[in-house]
Each structure stands twice: as C-alpha cells, then as structure tokens.
Amino acid sequence: MELDLLYFAWVRERIGLDGERVTLPPDVIDVAGLVAWLAQRSDGHGEALADRGRLRAAVDQRFATPDTSIIGAREVALFPPVTGG
C-alpha cells in the first residue's frame, strides 16, 4: 500500500524531510505499526521517532491514536503535541 507521510515541527527537522511517499508492507496496519516500521528506515527516522510518548499523529487530517487503523488511508502526519493558541 502506498501512503503519503507528512512531518511537522521537530519531527520534520530530525528526519530532514517535510514528507515522503512510502510503500508499506501488508502487516503494517495501524499508527503504532507505521511508526515502528518507519523508525528503522534511517538513523534520522529512528532518532525523530524514538520518543513515542511525545509523538502524535493524524490520519487523513483527523487526529489519531497509536491503535488508529491506517488501512485504506491516503495520508498520515506525524508531529509533536500541538502548541497553538
């Protein structure tokens, strides 16, 4: 499955990309699985995604949790806890 990834704030800086398109293995079915798979892609990915407690996600522009399904999703964004307002 092809998936567009978007990175924001320090996740973007540590990975060194603002996004990328990836082809997922079929056993990656939720946000937690995606993060675990991505963390092995490069040292930058591993470092950016190491602190799982400070990582948040949105699946197709909706806030998500680690167990949110990504089956059929088009886009997943990964970022730190939000700090607007």
Binding site: L6, F8, F63, P81, T83
Partner: protein
Amino acid sequence: MIDVRVQMERFDPGVELAHLEAAGGGGVASFTGIVRGEGGLVELLLEHHPSMTQAAMEEIAAEAARRWPLLGIRLIHRIGGLAPGERIVFVGTVARHRGDALDACAFLIDWLKTAAPFWKRERFADGQCRWVDAREEDGQAAARWG
C-alpha cells in the same frame, strides 16, 4: 455566524468585535493572544498542518455552537513569523447573555491550544531556536470542559 480564518496577515480585534456586536446579542466576549517577548525572544514561528488546520478549527467552533446558544463566533489564528507584542490568536463570541459568551470564549481558546495542529518555535537574540513544549496545564484546561 461562524467565521474561522488561518492567516499570515495581522488582524484588528476592533473590526472583529464590531462584527460580533452587529449580530444582535446582549453580550460579546473575546480573547486576544499576544507574543510574549520574554528571555530575549525575537521571533515566534507558527507552523501548521495546512490541509487540516481550517477544518480542525471549524470543528472546534461547531462544538462550541452545540454547547452554548451563540449568535456568532469569530476565530483567527496567525501562522508564520511573529515579533514580540504581535497578536497571534483571536477568539470572539456573541450570545444573548454574558455567561454563554464568556464560557464559550474560554472553551474555544482552551480547545484551540490542544486540538488544532499548530506548533510554535521560538528564536532568541543569541540565535538559538527551540520548539515550544506542550504544557500539561493546557491539557488540563481543555479537559475540564469534558
């Protein structure tokens, strides 16, 4: 009745309040967030998730409209680089009675801080930059609304 904007440009709270006052209610409440220039801060950079922000803010406004009988809501959140003293965010509400306007205004700013995809990066006079950490109190403030 609901007006939500994400923009680089400055805004004028007086203009926003005038719109709310024209809605025919009995009470207008507002909150304006300003960049604090503490610790040698020279710029606050607001990053966001462009394809998600507008919808997330509209959802927060719709939730406020479900909870309180409001005649109008105006939300503005700026993005890009902001200097100390500049306005970042505006929340304005109008209702027949002050309690609804005040409560909805407080709810909106608490939720904007925790449920809209914005991230702040601080740049200081010595050239250092750091991403602002989410504050525990912000989560608690949003949680008190259930």
